[in-house]
Protein backbone atom coordinates (compact mmCIF):
# COMPACT_ATOMS: atom_id res chain seq x y z
CA UNK A 1 0.00 0.00 0.00
CA UNK A 2 1.36 3.42 -0.91
CA UNK A 3 1.42 6.09 1.74
CA UNK A 4 -0.83 9.07 1.02
CA UNK A 5 0.02 12.31 2.71
CA UNK A 6 -2.67 14.84 3.58
CA UNK A 7 -3.10 18.05 5.47
CA UNK A 8 -6.31 18.40 7.42
CA UNK A 9 -7.39 21.67 9.05
CA UNK A 10 -9.22 21.76 12.36
CA UNK A 11 -10.43 24.16 15.02
CA UNK A 12 -9.51 23.08 18.56
CA UNK A 13 -12.94 21.85 19.67
CA UNK A 14 -14.09 18.59 21.20
CA UNK A 15 -15.91 17.60 18.00
CA UNK A 16 -12.59 17.38 16.14
CA UNK A 17 -12.14 14.22 18.26
CA UNK A 18 -12.53 11.66 15.46
CA UNK A 19 -9.79 13.34 13.40
CA UNK A 20 -7.46 13.69 16.37
CA UNK A 21 -7.92 10.09 17.52
CA UNK A 22 -7.63 8.72 13.95
CA UNK A 23 -4.24 10.41 13.65
CA UNK A 24 -2.86 10.14 17.19
CA UNK A 25 -3.92 6.53 17.78
CA UNK A 26 -2.40 5.49 14.45
CA UNK A 27 -5.65 4.40 12.75
CA UNK A 28 -4.85 6.67 9.80
CA UNK A 29 -1.31 5.33 9.55
CA UNK A 30 -2.66 1.78 9.48
CA UNK A 31 -4.71 2.82 6.45
CA UNK A 32 -1.57 4.10 4.75
CA UNK A 33 -2.28 7.75 5.46
CA UNK A 34 0.30 10.23 6.72
CA UNK A 35 -1.90 13.03 8.05
CA UNK A 36 -0.72 16.39 9.30
CA UNK A 37 -3.38 18.07 11.44
CA UNK A 38 -3.30 21.86 11.10
CA UNK A 39 -4.74 23.90 13.98
CA UNK A 40 -6.61 27.01 12.87
CA UNK A 41 -8.00 30.11 14.58
CA UNK A 42 -11.09 30.92 12.50
CA UNK A 43 -13.68 29.15 10.36
CA UNK A 44 -12.96 31.67 7.60
CA UNK A 45 -9.36 30.43 7.52
CA UNK A 46 -10.36 26.77 7.49
CA UNK A 47 -12.77 27.38 4.62
CA UNK A 48 -10.29 29.45 2.57
CA UNK A 49 -7.40 27.05 3.04
CA UNK A 50 -9.62 24.10 2.08
CA UNK A 51 -10.99 26.01 -0.91
CA UNK A 52 -7.62 26.91 -2.37
CA UNK A 53 -6.13 23.49 -1.73
CA UNK A 54 -3.76 24.23 1.15
CA UNK A 55 -5.79 21.62 3.05
CA UNK A 56 -6.90 18.30 1.59
CA UNK A 57 -9.78 18.05 4.04
CA UNK A 58 -11.14 19.96 7.01
CA UNK A 59 -13.18 19.87 10.20
CA UNK A 60 -15.90 22.30 9.15
CA UNK A 61 -19.24 23.72 10.32
CA UNK A 62 -21.81 21.65 8.42
CA UNK A 63 -23.75 24.73 7.21
CA UNK A 64 -20.52 26.35 6.03
CA UNK A 65 -19.80 23.38 3.76
CA UNK A 66 -23.25 23.90 2.22
CA UNK A 67 -22.81 27.69 1.95
CA UNK A 68 -19.51 27.21 0.15
CA UNK A 69 -21.11 24.69 -2.21
CA UNK A 70 -23.96 27.08 -2.98
CA UNK A 71 -21.66 30.12 -3.25
CA UNK A 72 -23.46 32.01 -0.48
CA UNK A 73 -21.55 34.71 1.38
CA UNK A 74 -18.25 33.88 -0.26
CA UNK A 75 -16.49 32.19 -3.16
CA UNK A 76 -18.40 29.25 -4.62
CA UNK A 77 -16.39 26.08 -4.19
CA UNK A 78 -18.29 22.79 -4.31
CA UNK A 79 -17.52 20.80 -1.17
CA UNK A 80 -18.58 17.31 -0.14
CA UNK A 81 -19.31 16.00 3.32
CA UNK A 82 -18.79 12.22 3.40
CA UNK A 83 -18.60 11.95 7.22
CA UNK A 84 -20.31 13.72 10.13
CA UNK A 85 -17.67 14.49 12.74
CA UNK A 86 -20.32 15.41 15.27
CA UNK A 87 -23.98 16.01 16.01
CA UNK A 88 -24.98 18.48 18.76
CA UNK A 89 -22.50 19.78 21.34
CA UNK A 90 -23.64 23.40 21.83
CA UNK A 91 -25.42 25.13 24.67
CA UNK A 92 -27.10 28.47 25.34
CA UNK A 93 -25.73 30.44 28.28
CA UNK A 94 -27.11 33.69 29.70
CA UNK A 95 -25.77 36.17 32.25
CA UNK A 96 -27.24 36.06 35.79
CA UNK A 97 -29.24 39.28 35.28
CA UNK A 98 -30.98 37.92 32.18
CA UNK A 99 -31.53 34.59 33.91
CA UNK A 100 -33.28 36.33 36.80
CA UNK A 101 -35.42 38.33 34.38
CA UNK A 102 -36.37 35.09 32.57
CA UNK A 103 -37.31 33.42 35.86
CA UNK A 104 -39.63 36.33 36.72
CA UNK A 105 -41.20 36.31 33.25
CA UNK A 106 -41.61 32.54 32.96
CA UNK A 107 -44.87 30.59 33.15
CA UNK A 108 -43.32 27.37 34.34
CA UNK A 109 -39.86 25.80 34.52
CA UNK A 110 -37.14 27.36 32.39
CA UNK A 111 -35.76 23.96 31.48
CA UNK A 112 -38.58 23.74 28.92
CA UNK A 113 -37.39 25.72 25.87
CA UNK A 114 -41.00 26.68 25.03
CA UNK A 115 -41.30 28.31 28.44
CA UNK A 116 -37.89 29.99 28.28
CA UNK A 117 -38.48 31.27 24.73
CA UNK A 118 -41.80 32.82 25.74
CA UNK A 119 -40.15 34.33 28.80
CA UNK A 120 -37.50 35.82 26.53
CA UNK A 121 -40.27 37.29 24.37
CA UNK A 122 -41.78 39.00 27.44
CA UNK A 123 -38.39 40.31 28.61
CA UNK A 124 -37.70 41.73 25.14
CA UNK A 125 -41.12 43.40 24.97
CA UNK A 126 -40.73 44.86 28.44
CA UNK A 127 -37.28 46.24 27.65
CA UNK A 128 -38.58 47.87 24.49
CA UNK A 129 -41.47 49.43 26.45
CA UNK A 130 -39.01 50.88 28.94
CA UNK A 131 -36.77 52.15 26.14
CA UNK A 132 -33.82 49.94 27.18
CA UNK A 133 -31.11 48.88 24.78
CA UNK A 134 -31.96 45.62 23.01
CA UNK A 135 -30.40 42.44 24.42
CA UNK A 136 -27.22 41.27 22.66
CA UNK A 137 -26.35 37.62 21.99
CA UNK A 138 -23.20 36.04 20.61
CA UNK A 139 -22.83 33.11 18.25
CA UNK A 140 -19.87 31.72 16.35
CA UNK A 141 -20.53 32.15 12.63
CA UNK A 142 -23.37 33.17 10.31
CA UNK A 143 -23.39 29.66 8.77
CA UNK A 144 -23.39 27.63 11.96
CA UNK A 145 -25.82 25.50 13.94
CA UNK A 146 -25.12 27.89 16.85
CA UNK A 147 -26.71 30.68 14.84
CA UNK A 148 -29.66 28.53 13.75
CA UNK A 149 -30.25 27.04 17.21
CA UNK A 150 -30.35 30.36 19.04
CA UNK A 151 -32.57 31.84 16.28
CA UNK A 152 -34.88 28.79 16.42
CA UNK A 153 -35.25 29.28 20.17
CA UNK A 154 -35.79 33.06 20.02
CA UNK A 155 -38.30 32.83 17.19
CA UNK A 156 -40.36 30.31 19.19
CA UNK A 157 -40.91 33.10 21.71
CA UNK A 158 -41.92 35.57 19.01
CA UNK A 159 -38.53 37.30 19.09
CA UNK A 160 -37.17 38.32 15.69
CA UNK A 161 -33.39 37.77 15.94
CA UNK A 162 -32.74 40.44 13.29
CA UNK A 163 -35.09 43.08 14.68
CA UNK A 164 -35.74 42.59 18.39
CA UNK A 165 -32.26 41.72 19.66
CA UNK A 166 -28.68 42.10 18.46
CA UNK A 167 -27.14 38.83 17.35
CA UNK A 168 -23.40 39.14 16.75
CA UNK A 169 -20.59 36.85 15.68
CA UNK A 170 -17.93 36.35 18.35
CA UNK A 171 -14.92 34.06 18.15
CA UNK A 172 -15.49 31.38 20.83
CA UNK A 173 -12.35 32.30 22.81
CA UNK A 174 -13.80 35.83 23.25
CA UNK A 175 -17.32 34.71 24.30
CA UNK A 176 -16.65 34.49 28.02
CA UNK A 177 -14.85 37.85 28.20
CA UNK A 178 -17.72 39.48 26.33
CA UNK A 179 -20.23 38.06 28.80
CA UNK A 180 -18.08 39.17 31.75
CA UNK A 181 -17.80 42.72 30.38
CA UNK A 182 -21.57 42.86 29.64
CA UNK A 183 -21.03 43.29 25.92
CA UNK A 184 -23.37 40.34 25.44
CA UNK A 185 -26.23 39.07 27.60
CA UNK A 186 -25.95 35.50 26.40
CA UNK A 187 -24.52 33.24 23.73
CA UNK A 188 -24.76 29.94 21.93
CA UNK A 189 -21.40 28.20 21.64
CA UNK A 190 -19.76 24.76 21.84
CA UNK A 191 -17.59 23.26 24.56
CA UNK A 192 -15.75 24.27 26.64
CA UNK A 193 -16.94 27.89 26.66
CA UNK A 194 -20.32 27.43 28.35
CA UNK A 195 -18.64 25.55 31.22
CA UNK A 196 -15.94 28.20 31.52
CA UNK A 197 -18.60 30.92 31.95
CA UNK A 198 -20.41 28.80 34.56
CA UNK A 199 -17.22 28.15 36.54
CA UNK A 200 -16.48 31.89 36.63
CA UNK A 201 -19.97 32.53 37.97
CA UNK A 202 -20.80 34.91 35.11
CA UNK A 203 -23.21 32.68 33.20
CA UNK A 204 -25.86 29.98 33.55
CA UNK A 205 -26.45 27.33 30.94
CA UNK A 206 -30.16 27.42 30.20
CA UNK A 207 -30.32 24.90 27.35
CA UNK A 208 -28.23 22.27 25.71
CA UNK A 209 -28.33 22.46 21.92
CA UNK A 210 -30.15 19.13 21.85
CA UNK A 211 -33.07 20.70 23.80
CA UNK A 212 -33.60 22.99 20.81
CA UNK A 213 -32.89 20.51 18.04
CA UNK A 214 -32.50 16.84 18.99
CA UNK A 215 -30.06 15.86 16.22
CA UNK A 216 -28.31 18.96 14.92
CA UNK A 217 -25.85 18.36 12.06
CA UNK A 218 -22.92 20.17 13.63
CA UNK A 219 -19.53 19.46 12.03
CA UNK A 220 -18.54 17.58 8.91
CA UNK A 221 -15.39 16.29 7.35
CA UNK A 222 -15.34 18.47 4.23
CA UNK A 223 -13.35 17.88 1.04
CA UNK A 224 -13.42 19.58 -2.35
CA UNK A 225 -15.62 17.71 -4.80
CA UNK A 226 -12.78 17.44 -7.33
CA UNK A 227 -10.40 16.17 -4.64
CA UNK A 228 -12.87 13.41 -3.66
CA UNK A 229 -12.77 12.15 -7.24
CA UNK A 230 -9.00 12.43 -7.68
CA UNK A 231 -8.14 10.92 -4.31
CA UNK A 232 -11.01 8.44 -4.04
CA UNK A 233 -8.94 5.66 -2.49
CA UNK A 234 -7.28 7.93 0.06
CA UNK A 235 -10.68 9.35 1.02
CA UNK A 236 -12.12 5.88 1.49
CA UNK A 237 -9.26 4.96 3.81
CA UNK A 238 -9.66 8.22 5.71
CA UNK A 239 -13.34 7.42 6.31
CA UNK A 240 -12.41 3.98 7.63
CA UNK A 241 -9.83 5.49 9.98
CA UNK A 242 -12.42 8.01 11.22
CA UNK A 243 -14.94 5.23 11.78
CA UNK A 244 -12.44 3.28 13.88
CA UNK A 245 -11.71 6.47 15.81
CA UNK A 246 -15.39 7.01 16.66
CA UNK A 247 -15.66 3.41 17.92
CA UNK A 248 -12.63 4.05 20.08
CA UNK A 249 -14.08 7.31 21.40
CA UNK A 250 -17.37 5.62 22.31
CA UNK A 251 -15.70 2.72 24.12
CA UNK A 252 -16.05 3.71 27.79
CA UNK A 253 -12.99 1.63 28.69
CA UNK A 254 -10.92 4.03 26.58
CA UNK A 255 -12.23 7.22 28.12
CA UNK A 256 -9.07 8.21 30.00
CA UNK A 257 -6.91 7.71 26.94
CA UNK A 258 -9.30 9.65 24.67
CA UNK A 259 -9.49 12.53 27.14
CA UNK A 260 -5.69 12.67 27.49
CA UNK A 261 -5.15 12.67 23.72
CA UNK A 262 -7.72 15.40 23.09
CA UNK A 263 -6.45 17.58 25.94
CA UNK A 264 -2.90 17.72 24.48
CA UNK A 265 -1.51 21.23 23.89
CA UNK A 266 -1.33 20.84 20.11
CA UNK A 267 -4.89 19.45 19.94
CA UNK A 268 -7.94 20.82 21.80
CA UNK A 269 -5.76 22.12 24.64
CA UNK A 270 -8.32 22.47 27.45
CA UNK A 271 -8.50 20.92 30.91
CA UNK A 272 -9.12 17.14 30.79
CA UNK A 273 -12.11 17.35 33.15
CA UNK A 274 -13.89 19.72 30.78
CA UNK A 275 -13.35 17.34 27.86
CA UNK A 276 -14.55 14.42 29.98
CA UNK A 277 -17.68 16.32 31.00
CA UNK A 278 -18.39 17.30 27.40
CA UNK A 279 -18.01 13.79 25.99
CA UNK A 280 -20.20 12.28 28.70
CA UNK A 281 -22.74 15.12 28.54
CA UNK A 282 -22.33 15.88 32.22
CA UNK A 283 -22.17 19.58 32.91
CA UNK A 284 -22.60 22.02 35.71
CA UNK A 285 -25.39 24.43 34.76
CA UNK A 286 -24.69 27.14 37.31
CA UNK A 287 -22.11 27.99 39.94
CA UNK A 288 -24.57 27.11 42.74
CA UNK A 289 -24.06 23.48 41.90
CA UNK A 290 -26.96 22.22 39.84
CA UNK A 291 -25.62 19.91 37.17
CA UNK A 292 -27.20 17.90 34.43
CA UNK A 293 -26.43 14.71 32.53
CA UNK A 294 -27.65 14.29 28.97
CA UNK A 295 -26.47 11.40 26.82
CA UNK A 296 -27.31 13.29 23.63
CA UNK A 297 -25.36 16.42 24.56
CA UNK A 298 -22.78 15.52 21.92
CA UNK A 299 -22.82 12.58 19.50
CA UNK A 300 -19.53 11.62 17.95
CA UNK A 301 -20.32 8.77 15.60
CA UNK A 302 -22.86 7.35 18.05
CA UNK A 303 -26.43 6.33 17.14
CA UNK A 304 -25.79 6.54 13.42
CA UNK A 305 -24.47 10.06 13.85
CA UNK A 306 -21.47 9.73 11.53
CA UNK A 307 -23.49 9.04 8.38
CA UNK A 308 -24.25 12.28 6.52
CA UNK A 309 -27.99 12.41 5.84
CA UNK A 310 -29.20 14.56 2.91
CA UNK A 311 -32.32 15.33 5.00
CA UNK A 312 -30.00 17.09 7.47
CA UNK A 313 -28.44 19.12 4.66
CA UNK A 314 -31.95 20.08 3.55
CA UNK A 315 -32.78 21.22 7.09
CA UNK A 316 -29.67 23.42 7.21
CA UNK A 317 -30.59 24.90 3.83
CA UNK A 318 -34.10 25.55 5.18
CA UNK A 319 -32.55 27.57 8.02
CA UNK A 320 -30.60 29.61 5.46
CA UNK A 321 -33.85 30.29 3.62
CA UNK A 322 -35.71 31.04 6.84
CA UNK A 323 -33.16 33.68 7.86
CA UNK A 324 -32.74 35.23 4.41
CA UNK A 325 -29.24 33.90 3.82
CA UNK A 326 -30.34 31.98 0.73
CA UNK A 327 -33.13 32.13 -1.81
CA UNK A 328 -35.59 29.25 -1.97
CA UNK A 329 -35.11 27.26 -5.15
CA UNK A 330 -35.34 23.60 -6.10
CA UNK A 331 -31.86 23.77 -7.63
CA UNK A 332 -30.25 25.12 -4.47
CA UNK A 333 -32.08 22.53 -2.39
CA UNK A 334 -30.84 19.74 -4.64
CA UNK A 335 -27.28 21.12 -4.49
CA UNK A 336 -27.42 21.39 -0.69
CA UNK A 337 -28.64 17.80 -0.35
CA UNK A 338 -25.99 16.55 -2.78
CA UNK A 339 -23.29 18.10 -0.57
CA UNK A 340 -23.92 15.36 2.04
CA UNK A 341 -22.68 12.03 0.67
CA UNK A 342 -23.92 8.93 2.49
CA UNK A 343 -23.02 6.92 -0.62
CA UNK A 344 -19.31 7.62 -0.10
CA UNK A 345 -19.70 6.78 3.58
CA UNK A 346 -21.52 3.52 2.83
CA UNK A 347 -19.04 2.51 0.13
CA UNK A 348 -16.10 3.00 2.49
CA UNK A 349 -17.72 1.28 5.47
CA UNK A 350 -19.68 -1.45 3.76
CA UNK A 351 -23.05 0.07 4.57
CA UNK A 352 -23.23 -1.88 7.81
CA UNK A 353 -22.87 0.94 10.30
CA UNK A 354 -26.29 2.52 10.62
CA UNK A 355 -28.54 0.09 8.80
CA UNK A 356 -30.04 -1.09 12.08
CA UNK A 357 -31.45 2.28 13.01
CA UNK A 358 -34.86 3.40 11.77
CA UNK A 359 -34.70 5.72 8.76
CA UNK A 360 -37.14 8.10 10.42
CA UNK A 361 -34.74 8.71 13.31
CA UNK A 362 -31.75 9.17 11.03
CA UNK A 363 -33.58 11.70 8.87
CA UNK A 364 -35.08 13.63 11.73
CA UNK A 365 -33.64 16.81 13.20
CA UNK A 366 -36.29 17.16 15.89
CA UNK A 367 -36.95 20.82 16.63
CA UNK A 368 -38.68 21.38 20.00
CA UNK A 369 -41.49 23.27 18.33
CA UNK A 370 -42.92 24.03 14.92
CA UNK A 371 -44.00 21.70 12.14
CA UNK A 372 -42.26 18.43 11.37
CA UNK A 373 -39.53 19.20 8.87
CA UNK A 374 -40.38 18.06 5.36
CA UNK A 375 -37.61 18.54 2.77
CA UNK A 376 -40.25 18.18 0.05
CA UNK A 377 -42.30 21.10 1.33
CA UNK A 378 -39.69 23.62 2.25
CA UNK A 379 -41.84 26.64 1.44
CA UNK A 380 -44.55 25.37 3.78
CA UNK A 381 -42.04 24.66 6.53
CA UNK A 382 -40.45 28.09 6.36
CA UNK A 383 -43.85 29.82 6.17
CA UNK A 384 -45.13 27.91 9.19
CA UNK A 385 -42.13 29.13 11.19
CA UNK A 386 -42.55 32.81 10.38
CA UNK A 387 -41.87 34.87 13.50
CA UNK A 388 -44.30 37.58 12.53
CA UNK A 389 -47.35 35.35 12.38
CA UNK A 390 -47.17 34.80 16.12
Amino acid sequence: MTVDTMRIGFIPLVDAAALIIAVDKGFAAEEGLAIELMREVSWSNVRDKLNIGLFDAAHLLAPLAIASTLGIGHVKVPLLAPFMLGLNGNAITVCPALYDALVLAANGGLDDPKVSAQALGRVVTERRRRGDEPLTFGMTFPFSTHNYQIRFWMAAGGVDPDEDVRLVVLPPPYMVDSLASHQVDGFCVGAPWNSVAVKLGIGRIIHFGCDIVARAPEKVLAVRAAWATNRASALERLLRALHRATDFINDSAREDEVVALLAAPNRVDVAPEIIRGTLSGQMQMALDGSSRVCADYILIGRDGGARPEPAHAAWLYAQMVRWNQAALSPDLLAAAKACFRPDLYDAALGGATSAKLPRKLLDSVGGFTGPLFDPDDMAGYVRALSVHDR
Partner: protein, 211 residues
Protein backbone atom coordinates in the same frame (compact mmCIF):
# COMPACT_ATOMS: atom_id res chain seq x y z
CA UNK B 1 5.10 33.53 -1.02
CA UNK B 2 7.55 34.02 -3.80
CA UNK B 3 8.41 37.53 -4.84
CA UNK B 4 7.35 36.85 -8.39
CA UNK B 5 6.96 39.39 -11.13
CA UNK B 6 3.23 39.70 -10.50
CA UNK B 7 3.81 41.49 -7.22
CA UNK B 8 6.63 43.64 -8.48
CA UNK B 9 4.32 44.67 -11.28
CA UNK B 10 1.55 45.17 -8.75
CA UNK B 11 3.70 47.51 -6.67
CA UNK B 12 4.44 49.72 -9.63
CA UNK B 13 0.78 49.58 -10.51
CA UNK B 14 -0.17 50.74 -7.02
CA UNK B 15 2.04 53.77 -7.33
CA UNK B 16 0.42 54.71 -10.60
CA UNK B 17 -3.12 54.12 -9.46
CA UNK B 18 -3.02 55.44 -5.91
CA UNK B 19 -6.36 56.56 -4.71
CA UNK B 20 -5.92 58.84 -1.69
CA UNK B 21 -9.65 59.00 -1.06
CA UNK B 22 -9.91 55.34 -0.09
CA UNK B 23 -10.47 54.75 3.59
CA UNK B 24 -8.43 51.75 4.76
CA UNK B 25 -8.67 49.91 8.07
CA UNK B 26 -5.99 47.50 9.28
CA UNK B 27 -7.03 44.91 11.90
CA UNK B 28 -3.87 43.41 13.33
CA UNK B 29 -2.83 42.53 16.89
CA UNK B 30 0.82 42.91 15.94
CA UNK B 31 1.76 46.60 16.22
CA UNK B 32 5.03 46.26 14.32
CA UNK B 33 3.48 44.57 11.31
CA UNK B 34 0.55 47.00 11.36
CA UNK B 35 3.02 49.91 11.33
CA UNK B 36 5.00 48.42 8.45
CA UNK B 37 1.80 47.98 6.49
CA UNK B 38 0.41 51.43 7.32
CA UNK B 39 3.70 53.06 6.33
CA UNK B 40 3.72 51.18 3.05
CA UNK B 41 0.18 52.29 2.27
CA UNK B 42 0.93 55.91 3.11
CA UNK B 43 4.07 55.84 1.00
CA UNK B 44 1.95 54.56 -1.86
CA UNK B 45 -0.31 57.57 -1.47
CA UNK B 46 -3.17 56.30 0.69
CA UNK B 47 -3.73 58.97 3.33
CA UNK B 48 -6.68 57.60 5.27
CA UNK B 49 -5.28 54.52 7.03
CA UNK B 50 -6.56 53.49 10.49
CA UNK B 51 -5.18 50.69 12.62
CA UNK B 52 -7.50 48.77 14.98
CA UNK B 53 -5.59 46.76 17.54
CA UNK B 54 -8.35 46.06 20.05
CA UNK B 55 -10.81 43.43 18.81
CA UNK B 56 -13.56 44.08 21.37
CA UNK B 57 -16.61 45.61 19.62
CA UNK B 58 -14.75 45.23 16.35
CA UNK B 59 -17.83 45.41 14.17
CA UNK B 60 -19.09 48.58 15.86
CA UNK B 61 -15.71 50.25 15.37
CA UNK B 62 -15.60 49.23 11.73
CA UNK B 63 -19.12 50.54 11.15
CA UNK B 64 -18.24 53.87 12.77
CA UNK B 65 -15.09 54.20 10.66
CA UNK B 66 -17.04 53.14 7.56
CA UNK B 67 -14.00 51.98 5.56
CA UNK B 68 -13.77 51.09 1.88
CA UNK B 69 -11.13 48.44 2.46
CA UNK B 70 -10.44 46.22 5.50
CA UNK B 71 -7.19 44.31 5.87
CA UNK B 72 -6.98 41.64 8.58
CA UNK B 73 -4.26 39.20 9.50
CA UNK B 74 -5.19 35.54 9.25
CA UNK B 75 -4.02 34.68 12.75
CA UNK B 76 -6.72 36.91 14.19
CA UNK B 77 -9.78 34.90 15.34
CA UNK B 78 -11.88 38.04 14.74
CA UNK B 79 -11.81 37.27 11.04
CA UNK B 80 -15.04 35.36 11.63
CA UNK B 81 -16.62 38.55 13.00
CA UNK B 82 -16.16 40.11 9.57
CA UNK B 83 -18.14 37.26 8.02
CA UNK B 84 -21.19 38.86 9.58
CA UNK B 85 -20.81 41.90 7.37
CA UNK B 86 -21.79 39.82 4.36
CA UNK B 87 -25.12 39.00 5.92
CA UNK B 88 -28.12 40.88 4.65
CA UNK B 89 -29.34 42.44 7.83
CA UNK B 90 -30.78 45.65 9.12
CA UNK B 91 -27.69 46.36 11.19
CA UNK B 92 -25.42 46.47 8.17
CA UNK B 93 -25.00 49.89 6.63
CA UNK B 94 -23.79 48.57 3.32
CA UNK B 95 -22.87 45.12 2.16
CA UNK B 96 -19.22 44.27 1.95
CA UNK B 97 -17.73 41.61 -0.26
CA UNK B 98 -14.39 39.94 -0.21
CA UNK B 99 -11.87 41.47 -2.56
CA UNK B 100 -10.80 38.24 -4.14
CA UNK B 101 -13.64 36.88 -6.21
CA UNK B 102 -13.96 33.69 -8.20
CA UNK B 103 -11.51 34.83 -10.87
CA UNK B 104 -8.83 35.64 -8.34
CA UNK B 105 -7.61 32.20 -7.33
CA UNK B 106 -3.96 33.28 -7.57
CA UNK B 107 -4.55 36.43 -5.55
CA UNK B 108 -6.36 34.64 -2.72
CA UNK B 109 -3.66 31.97 -2.63
CA UNK B 110 -0.90 34.57 -2.42
CA UNK B 111 -2.79 36.45 0.29
CA UNK B 112 -3.50 33.37 2.41
CA UNK B 113 0.09 32.28 2.00
CA UNK B 114 1.33 35.65 3.22
CA UNK B 115 -1.19 35.58 6.09
CA UNK B 116 -3.46 38.47 5.17
CA UNK B 117 -7.05 38.76 4.07
CA UNK B 118 -8.76 41.72 2.42
CA UNK B 119 -12.37 42.85 2.27
CA UNK B 120 -13.85 45.71 0.30
CA UNK B 121 -17.08 47.58 0.11
CA UNK B 122 -19.29 46.08 -2.51
CA UNK B 123 -19.39 48.02 -5.73
CA UNK B 124 -15.88 49.42 -5.45
CA UNK B 125 -14.08 49.02 -8.77
CA UNK B 126 -11.48 46.33 -8.50
CA UNK B 127 -8.85 48.37 -10.34
CA UNK B 128 -8.99 51.03 -7.64
CA UNK B 129 -7.70 48.67 -5.00
CA UNK B 130 -5.67 46.18 -6.99
CA UNK B 131 -2.39 47.63 -5.75
CA UNK B 132 -3.42 47.53 -2.11
CA UNK B 133 -3.55 43.77 -1.82
CA UNK B 134 -0.26 43.36 -3.67
CA UNK B 135 1.34 45.88 -1.36
CA UNK B 136 -0.09 44.06 1.66
CA UNK B 137 1.21 40.73 0.49
CA UNK B 138 4.71 42.02 -0.08
CA UNK B 139 4.74 43.86 3.28
CA UNK B 140 3.42 40.80 5.13
CA UNK B 141 6.09 38.69 3.47
CA UNK B 142 8.75 41.25 4.33
CA UNK B 143 7.58 41.23 7.95
CA UNK B 144 7.68 37.42 8.06
CA UNK B 145 11.25 37.46 6.73
CA UNK B 146 12.23 40.10 9.25
CA UNK B 147 10.70 38.12 12.10
CA UNK B 148 12.47 35.00 10.90
CA UNK B 149 15.82 36.78 10.76
CA UNK B 150 15.26 38.31 14.16
CA UNK B 151 14.41 34.93 15.67
CA UNK B 152 17.49 33.38 14.15
CA UNK B 153 19.66 36.21 15.41
CA UNK B 154 18.16 35.90 18.89
CA UNK B 155 18.69 32.16 18.93
CA UNK B 156 22.31 32.60 17.82
CA UNK B 157 22.84 35.25 20.48
CA UNK B 158 21.37 33.18 23.31
CA UNK B 159 23.33 30.13 22.13
CA UNK B 160 26.55 32.12 22.23
CA UNK B 161 25.75 33.35 25.71
CA UNK B 162 25.12 29.87 27.08
CA UNK B 163 28.27 28.51 25.43
CA UNK B 164 30.29 31.33 27.02
CA UNK B 165 28.84 30.53 30.43
CA UNK B 166 29.52 26.81 30.03
CA UNK B 167 33.09 27.55 28.94
CA UNK B 168 33.58 29.62 32.09
CA UNK B 169 32.24 26.85 34.30
CA UNK B 170 34.43 24.18 32.68
CA UNK B 171 37.51 26.44 32.83
CA UNK B 172 37.00 27.02 36.52
CA UNK B 173 36.24 23.42 37.46
CA UNK B 174 38.98 21.81 35.37
CA UNK B 175 41.38 24.68 35.60
CA UNK B 176 41.98 24.69 31.84
CA UNK B 177 42.22 27.35 29.13
CA UNK B 178 39.28 28.78 27.24
CA UNK B 179 40.35 27.04 24.03
CA UNK B 180 40.56 23.68 25.83
CA UNK B 181 37.18 24.20 27.50
CA UNK B 182 35.61 24.92 24.12
CA UNK B 183 37.33 21.89 22.56
CA UNK B 184 35.91 19.73 25.34
CA UNK B 185 32.37 20.98 24.80
CA UNK B 186 32.71 20.43 21.06
CA UNK B 187 34.08 16.92 21.46
CA UNK B 188 31.27 15.95 23.84
CA UNK B 189 28.71 17.38 21.43
CA UNK B 190 30.18 15.37 18.55
CA UNK B 191 30.26 12.16 20.57
CA UNK B 192 26.68 12.57 21.71
CA UNK B 193 25.50 13.79 18.34
CA UNK B 194 24.20 17.05 19.83
CA UNK B 195 24.65 20.75 19.22
CA UNK B 196 27.33 22.51 21.25
CA UNK B 197 24.65 24.83 22.62
CA UNK B 198 22.71 21.81 23.95
CA UNK B 199 25.74 20.41 25.74
CA UNK B 200 26.54 23.89 27.06
CA UNK B 201 22.98 24.19 28.38
CA UNK B 202 23.36 20.86 30.23
CA UNK B 203 26.59 22.09 31.82
CA UNK B 204 24.94 25.33 32.91
CA UNK B 205 21.88 23.50 34.29
CA UNK B 206 24.05 21.00 36.16
CA UNK B 207 26.17 23.81 37.61
CA UNK B 208 23.03 25.62 38.82
CA UNK B 209 21.78 22.41 40.44
CA UNK B 210 25.03 21.78 42.23
CA UNK B 211 25.47 25.35 43.42
Amino acid sequence: MHEDSRFTAGKAHALLLRDPALKIVIVDENPVRAAILADGLREAGYIDVTWIEETASLLARIYSLDPDVILIDLENPSRDVLAQMFQVSRAVKRPIAMFVDQSDAAAIEAAVDAGVSAYIVDGLKKERIEGILDLCISRFNAFARLKDELERAQTALSERKVIDRAKGIVMKLKNISEADAYAMLRKTAMNENKKIAEVAQSVVTAAELLK
